[in-house]
């Protein structure tokens, strides 16, 4: 399906002579979404079926479709922006390289011992995940760096070569190196990596300091092990993709969405893949932040609901919430962020996305004690919800939504009718009768519990940060986000909900609003008031030079490079720090109050203690052409076969009420709920008591009407 949005008042049929465009591609489990931004401001989108065995194939076929629609040649593309799940799938399905690890003598088991905790309690049947590198492939070498950075024992080359020979004979493809205290002085690690790669050029090598120059031997070892494990598959995929793009006539640079929601050079993704595990999902959150800026909404919860999971990210005072640490685990259900176990730890900057195993396809059931539960098991696309009539027998969230009248009795596009009666019977039989509820009441229950689960994801990124959801606006996207958003908002006390122009391809669209970026980090441990001005300024200059070099090497002009900087601070004696942005000449005296204020906001009291610095961070960005501007987006009519109608909808368990159903394109002025708005790629539910109106950016904004 192809959608288009005009971003200017210029006539859409007048094609300028020199056409160029940026293309973004987001690969999901079911669909590959593409959005093209032509230099005259027009956007074109396409949704094609994903091809998991060779994901690049869907990219190439989708690109052909969207280029044809936009009527421009592949050579006219100036940037390809890409969000990929190859990294997360490699970890999830354990398809990574045969990986080896080299450590300081005495510490090869740090990776396997980990941090000891279990994600649940009282469960002695739990399985700790197998380490990514088996013990026999974790080898020790003689070397030692002390806590202050002093080299006590230089690395012993013979040990490194012996390890390499063993790895080569065992068919190891990728090797990670992590030495104790290397964050203080990388000399031994770097020289080991150099000795290794000179002797064994065919084996990939990653030194821990090159991905994470921070204290914490387990976190650093685990991070570099993930990098080594994911490197060959992700590198291979990107090489194939680039090759096919070049064959198709594309000359533009390929940029990959990183876990932090930014765009990096493909070469960076190939050498540091651990930074790209949450590619795509994080880009959606970044797009949400940009849309929020365009709307003048600095405080947003970005809520994305798909088929099996729902996720939430926070934008507070215009800043997207990020975390420096992330655990990847099988099974998406993350009921608690307070876990240090059970997953593959990566200490890399990541958009702070909380995810719950609750999507449109999640199955509803009754547990041993008679409690109604929803998810994390999903009916997926096969067999799918009962109402699809593809063999699914267990009721899902979608079945509940169909029975309650929220969703139209036909699939998007209007070609396939949904079996409302089958969904009703399944809900009645498996849930309604045993609980003594009507089918409609049970369906309401499914929906309410699904909502409660999803509320946990939102709370994880709000309440946990000491933020009151009531001060925030909810931005809903993904195929099913707009179906549930208003109910979630009301549960949380949120009074404003935003629906972007095309929620279904919002993630790909969000990437177009971004530009390439590059990050640098330097350790700077000292009491804040004792941290030398000269030391800080030297590290800042060093970071700027490194970032500028990395970006110009990609073909970006040095004069388009911009920077933002932050310093990680904490109270003396703490482990966790807060990142405090700053600019201009370094001034420790002004940073202390900024930190204390941020601390009070987060933890609810004002400390009097000494503040210590941990690290300096630099974020650099550059651009090749104008990014997509959400303030200039304008929705054009594209609703397939939708027409105004009325149907009975259960907004409460009490009774159904007659509700107006309108096509999205026809919403040109404010409407009062209840009303259901059907678009090409999703349905927006506005319950009674809320009011919705279109905005200049093409978004719809729902608000709670004053009681």
């Amino acid at each position: 399906m192809i959608g288009r949005w005009a971003a200017s008042s210029r006539p859409t049929n007048s094609v300028p002579m020199m056409q160029s465009a940026r293309l973004s591609v987001d690969i999901g489990g079911t669909f590959t979404d593409l959005v093209l931004l032509r230099n005259d401001g027009l956007t074109f989108s396409a949704k094609v079926s994903s091809t998991p065995a060779a994901p690049e194939d869907a990219v190439i076929s989708g690109m052909a479709e969207v280029l044809a629609a936009a009527d421009i040649p592949a050579a006219a593309l100036t940037e390809i922006l890409h969000g990929t799940t190859v990294g997360s799938n490699t970890l999830l399905q354990k398809l990574g390289a045969r990986t080896g690890l080299i450590t300081t003598k005495g510490f090869r088991d740090v990776l396997e011992i980990g941090r000891l905790r279990t994600p649940g309690m009282f469960d002695l049947t739990w399985d700790k995940p197998e380490p990514l590198v088996a013990r026999r492939y974790r080898l020790e070498v003689a070397e030692r760096t002390l806590a202050d950075g002093t080299i006590q024992t230089p690395v012993v080359a013979e040990d490194v070569l012996r390890a390499g020979a063993f790895f080569r004979d065992e068919g190891i493809q990728s090797v990670a190196i992590c030495f104790l205290n290397s964050y203080k002085n990388p000399e031994n690690e770097r020289s080991a990596a150099q000795i290794f790669s000179q002797a064994f050029a065919e084996i990939a090598v990653t030194a821990s300091v090159d991905v994470l120059p921070e204290a914490g031997e387990y976190e650093r070892t685990s991070t570099v092990a993930v990098n080594a494990y994911v490197l060959p598959p992700l590198k291979g995929y990107l090489e194939r993709l680039e090759h096919k793009l070049r064959s198709a006539g594309v000359t533009a640079p390929l940029l990959i969405g990183n876990s932090n929601g930014g765009l990096s050079a493909s070469t960076t993704a190939q050498s540091k893949p651990v930074f790209f595990i949450s590619s795509g999902r994080s880009s959606g959150a970044v797009g949400a932040a940009r849309l929020g800026a365009a709307l003048g909404e600095p405080n947003l919860v970005a809520f994305d609901m798909g088929g099996t999971t729902a996720s939430a990210a926070l934008i507070h005072r215009g800043v997207l919430s990020r975390t420096h640490e992330y655990e990847f685990r099988a099974g998406m259900s993350v009921p608690s962020r307070f876990i240090k176990a059970g997953g593959y730890m990566m200490r890399v900057p990541t958009v702070d996305v909380a995810e719950v195993g609750n999507g449109a396809g999640s199955i509803a059931a009754i547990d041993a004690a008679g409690l109604l539960t929803v998810g994390p098991i999903s009916a997926g696309a096969d067999p799918g919800p009962v109402c699809y009539g593809l063999g699914g027998a267990r009721p899902t969230v979608t079945d509940a939504n169909v029975v309650l009248g929220y969703l139209p009795p036909r699939l998007a596009g209007g070609t396939l009718r949904l079996d409302v009666e089958a969904a009703r019977m399944a809900i009645d039989k498996t849930l309604g009768s045993p609980l003594g509820l009507s089918a409609a009441a049970a369906a309401c229950g499914i929906r309410e519990i699904a909502n409660a689960n999803m509320v946990r994801a939102i709370r994880a990124v709000t309440v946990e940060r000491g933020l009151d959801p009531r001060d925030l606006t909810l931005l809903a996207f993904g195929g099913s986000g707009p179906v549930h958003a208003c109910d979630l908002a009301r549960t949380l006390g949120i009074t404003r909900v935003v629906f972007p122009p095309s929620p279904g391809v919002f993630t790909a669209m969000g990437m177009l609003a971004g530009s390439i970026e590059h990050h640098e980090l330097r350790s700077a441990q000292a009491r804040l008031d004792l941290l030398g001005f000269e030391v800080v300024e030297r590290l800042r200059r060093e970071m700027r030079a490194a970032a500028t070099m990395a970006l110009t090497r990609q073909g970006y002009a040095a004069e388009t490079v911009g920077f933002s900087e932050a310093i990680d601070l904490r109270l003396e004696g703490q482990d966790a720090s807060l990142s405090i942005p700053f600019s201009g000449a370094f001034d420790a005296a002004s940073l202390r109050p900024a930190f204390i204020a941020a601390y009070r906001d987060t933890y609810g009291y004002t400390p009097n203690d000494a503040v210590e610095a941990v690290a300096l961070r630099l974020h650099a960005h550059a651009r090749i052409s104008e990014p997509l501007d959400f303030t200039a987006l304008k929705a054009a009519p594209n609703d397939v076969g939708a027409r105004e109608e009325r149907r009975m909808v259960h907004f409460t368990r009490a009774a159904a009420i007659e509700t107006t159903i309108v096509p999205r394109a026809s919403v040109v002025s404010a409407l009062s709920g209840p009303v259901i708005i059907e678009g090409a790629d999703t349905t927006i539910v506005i319950p009674p008591g809320m009011r919705v109106e279109p905005n200049a950016t093409g978004s719809l904004i729902a608000t709670l009407e004053a009681a």
Binding site: D109, R337, L371, V463, Q574
Partner: protein, 563 residues
């Protein structure tokens, strides 16, 4: 009586779980001492107005069973004298506490004048004074040697700090900045619990309390259902502690579980009388240890709340090691809690084998190294806790590199130790051959080796399982026992399990932890599993032969290539 709506019920239940998660996270982010912020030796919970546990975070389970007894003391003492903004602390084992380093903090939560419940945060402080740095010695002989005793009293009164009490604490501990910093973290966390509980009350009003009752009933119903499914009868088990640090005589812990209908009685008659060393455990702590072990035998979805405790009656003779009289010392009582867990586990494994395991490592080993360092003679106290291994299970091996199930603790990063203490780490590794053989072998214990960099320090070690190694079940073998070793002037010597001594610069201390016991007949172990363990160096060729009759293939050349 409010009608219970099943949906609202589910929403409130997950709402409470979210609040305690928030609280646990806040402690970790704000605490100062490595024992709290890295090792995570703390726990948080929310109670209702009657002091019943509603929900607990995934933190130290051993603490929480003791909360009901502590709250009873508070409610009795402060019944008409609790106001909004009050914060009550205690640590006296003979007045609601467990051992002195664990400071309980309670914040009563009021909506106008109505008491809704309590925020509770228990943290293990790095020092509370007494004769040994860390206040954790096993060789004290009376409570008065163990540090500052705090009877239940207000640390904040209507929002204002009690400066007298703060000053007393400050002057009686070795590291006041750390202790006061961790008290701040507890306080911040209590406030978060209060704020969130009030939000729930705002949303659901007076109905909330009916849902609290229902939540506790729900925990009770699920527990009773499980117990009713177990065969009626008596199930006994005995395990041992090596000695109390003064006498090498084994200390028996005897447990007899009676299942009758849907109730459990757990009686510890026959256990040792209270001992001279500091491993006596208060009855509240014994209850806590017992509850959590029984909780492991229940389904995952049973909420851990006061309803579970209603189905269990725990008794121990007065004057015994499990119910001592003043002034018996208790500082190292955690060890006794672990052994209670092991003993109850052994009895329960006869009832619900699929959910339990053979004995794990026997609880963490505490290595405390303290003294004064550098030209300014700055005090330092490293309190390190070594965990752990699980025993074999009915269908799989025990896990290695894992918390004791009673705690959910973490470990101190090597790089944190080396950056903050005058100690260099020389090894942190899995201990080959330490898991008990079995169809499903026990997990391997850990090795941790330290080298002192300061001129002198006091070393205090609390280990066990030297003499009585972790048991196997159903034909599985016992694990390797633990060892404490010390190297001075190039000579290794074996230390007792529990010891306090002065050490000098470059002394090397090594602990080799016991592994987990095996489950089932070793003869039934899969050949592939044995081969994998051999390849990974988790068992030696000699043990593969001795335990399993498995002949190891000669090592591949690649392994031994010398350059």
């Amino acid at each position: 009586m409010t009608a219970i709506d099943p949906i609202t019920f589910a929403v409130i239940k997950s709402g409470l779980d979210t609040i305690v998660d928030d609280m646990a996270y806040a402690v970790m982010r704000t605490a100062r001492s490595p024992i709290v912020r890295d090792v995570l030796d703390y726990s948080v919970t929310l109670c209702d107005a009657k002091g019943r546990i509603l929900s607990q975070a995934k933190t130290v389970a051993l603490h929480l069973g003791a909360v009901p007894d502590a709250i009873d003391v508070i409610v009795e003492r402060f019944r008409d004298d609790m106001f909004r903004g009050d914060v009550i602390v205690l640590n006296d084992p003979y007045d609601g506490g467990m051992h002195l380093p664990d400071i309980f903090m309670f914040k009563p939560i009021f909506s106008s004048k109505r008491l809704l419940g309590f925020s509770v945060v228990i943290a293990h402080h790095c020092d509370v004074g007494g004769r040994v740095p860390g206040s954790n010695a096993s060789d004290s002989t009376e409570i008065f040697q163990e540090g500052l005793r705090i009877a239940p009293m207000k640390l904040y009164e209507r929002g204002l700090p009690n400066r007298t009490l703060f000053k007393i604490i400050e002057k009686n501990v070795r590291l006041p900045a750390m202790v006061l910093g961790d008290l701040d973290a507890q306080y911040a966390t209590c406030n978060i619990g209060e704020r969130e509980m009030l939000r729930l009350f705002e949303r659901y009003g007076e109905e909330l309390e009916a849902y609290f009752d229902r939540l506790i009933d729900y925990g009770e119903e699920l527990t009773r259902k499980a117990i009713a499914g177990w065969p009626d009868g008596e199930y006994a088990f005995t395990d041992y502690i090596d000695g109390d640090g003064f006498s090498p005589a084994p200390i028996p812990i005897v447990c007899r579980i009676t299942v009758k209908g849907d109730h459990l009685w757990v009686d510890f008659a026959g256990s040792s009388p209270q001992v001279k060393g500091a491993i006596n455990a208060t009855l509240s702590f014994v209850k806590s240890s017992t509850y959590l072990t029984i909780r492991c035998a229940l389904d995952h979805d049973v909420p851990n709340n006061a309803g579970v405790y209603r189905c269990i009656t725990v008794t121990a003779p007065e004057g015994s090691i499990l119910n001592p009289n003043m002034p018996a010392p208790v500082a190292a009582r955690a060890l006794t809690g672990y052994r209670v867990v092991d003993t109850v586990m052994g009895a329960l494994a006869q009832i619900a084998p699929k959910r339990l395991m053979a004995a794990g490592e026997g609880g963490n080993t505490v290595v405390a190294i303290g003294g004064y360092h550098g030209p300014e003679c700055k005090p330092f106290i490293l309190v390190d806790m070594i965990n752990g291994a699980w025993g074999g299970r009915s269908d799989k091996d025990g896990i290695e590199g894992i918390t004791n199930p009673s705690q959910n603790m973490s470990n101190l990063p090597i790089e944190t130790i080396e950056a903050r203490y005058p100690v260099m780490m020389e090894e942190y590794a899995l201990r080959e051959d330490s898991g008990g053989a079995g169809q499903f072998r026990g997990g391997l214990g850990l090795v941790r080796q330290y080298r002192l960099q300061a001129d002198t320090a006091v070393l205090q070690l609390r280990a066990d399982r030297h003499e009585h190694s972790p048991y196997g079940l159903f034909g599985g073998q016992a694990a390797a026992s633990s060892r404490n070793l010390l190297k001075q002037d190039g000579e290794w010597r074996v230390l007792p399990a529990k010891v306090t001594l002065e050490i000098g610069k470059d002394t090397v201390i090594r602990h080799e932890q016991a592994g987990g016991g095996g489950w089932g007949d070793p003869a039934s172990r899969g050949r592939d599993s044995i081969a994998t363990d051999l390849a990974n160096g988790k068992i030696s060729p000699a043990r593969a032969m001795a335990d399993y009759g498995f002949e190891a293939e000669p090592k591949a050349d690649g392994d031994d290539t010398s350059t």
